[in-house]
Subunit: 126 residues, 4 copies
């Protein structure tokens, strides 16, 4: 199973490649620290500076959120959720951590396969 | 297929029944108006004043968001996402409306079946 | 939530309507009796005499299998699984019943909404 | 993302390890050849000689079927679908191939993470 990864696009010259990599990459956005037993918001977003199409034959069909090797939750999309316009797929999960987490997001593009985010460490304190 | 619905719990006497109905009911929370072609946040929440368990054998396993008869998106959960504590399942979808919407959420409890929210009308303007 | 149901197409005159109803309807195909604790095959099929398109903007995106009010399992599809040809969506689940079941399938068409099968009773014996 | 793989259990001495690896491994079972444009059955099974639990806190929650880097379909399970007995999770997808395929299955155990099957090549002829 080939899994694609984000590359630092500031190091890439070709505009088309910057766009391709950025708009497919999954990102985990959340605070670096969480309180044990309290709700904690984790945004999973696909694309940062660039936007992915939401066409019938080319869209992000799902994103998943993992803590290490543990699957937490996922969202499934149908084309048109972004109005068939290009846009960053975005979903906020509200989870309740009990101990430190290593969060990773996965995103699947119906034309360009599976993409894994960088891991985001969250320190959970009492 | 039996589909359960919210009832106004202020009209219900028995505390156990208030709790049962409220903690299973799906709610759509969003603004009443949206701009056409711009991101619009829709929160799907299960339970309002009361909280549902997140036990291995008793949890909310999925929520769906519909616009009229059109399925937009859904989130799947595994037990433990709320830390195995009681809590309102909550997920924010960011969609891009093009015309007026009638949003409905569905939620499934692994012990108490399928629950449908009230419909929320959203006026979409240019 | 509008849920569509199968109608006996032999009682329908208009060919287009026969086709529309049949190709969207979900069907549960299985034996009428099962052995307690042994694997039991349940086929969920969408369409009986007529075939549904598998186009990017018009396909069956999921089927679910329910036992009464209990969700058992579901399959998600992306367009192209039937080769972008018309065909009956079909998936066989192998479940292990412990007591009598009342099986219902749900199917979702991305253009024509949610369809519920007739209920199929299964007698489970020791 | 750690992805576990099958190992040839005949080469493993320790019974507990044989069991652990076999019962978690995903397998793709299908014919080696298919006719272009005709239905083709692909069984995804988890476990071969050994059976995985179907406990509330320990079960196979989903399987996916991929063709190379293209996601085809997936099935989600809730605990109890196998009657809360140990058993091989098993689902048959009926797909319509148009050209040669390289099929891979993924399976997720709620305690022991993600498992990838060996790739199965299918030759598709006119």
């Amino acid at each position: 199973m080939k899994i694609n990864r984000y590359e630092d696009i500031s190091q890439i010259d070709r505009e088309a490649k910057k766009d391709y990599i950025d708009r497919h990459s999954a990102f985990v956005h959340c605070a670096a620290e969480a309180k044990k037993g309290e709700k904690f918001t984790v945004k999973v977003q696909v694309g940062d500076e660039y936007a992915h199409p939401d066409d019938f034959d080319h869209y992000i069909s799902y994103v998943q959120l993992w803590n290490g090797e543990t699957f937490l939750t996922e969202a499934h999309f149908t084309p048109g959720v972004l109005g068939n316009m290009a846009g960053q797929v975005e979903v906020d999960f509200h989870i309740v951590p009990l101990k430190n987490m290593k969060l990773t997001a996965m995103a699947y593009c119906t034309k360009h396969g599976l993409w894994q985010s960088d891991e985001v460490k969250v320190t959970v304190t009492e």
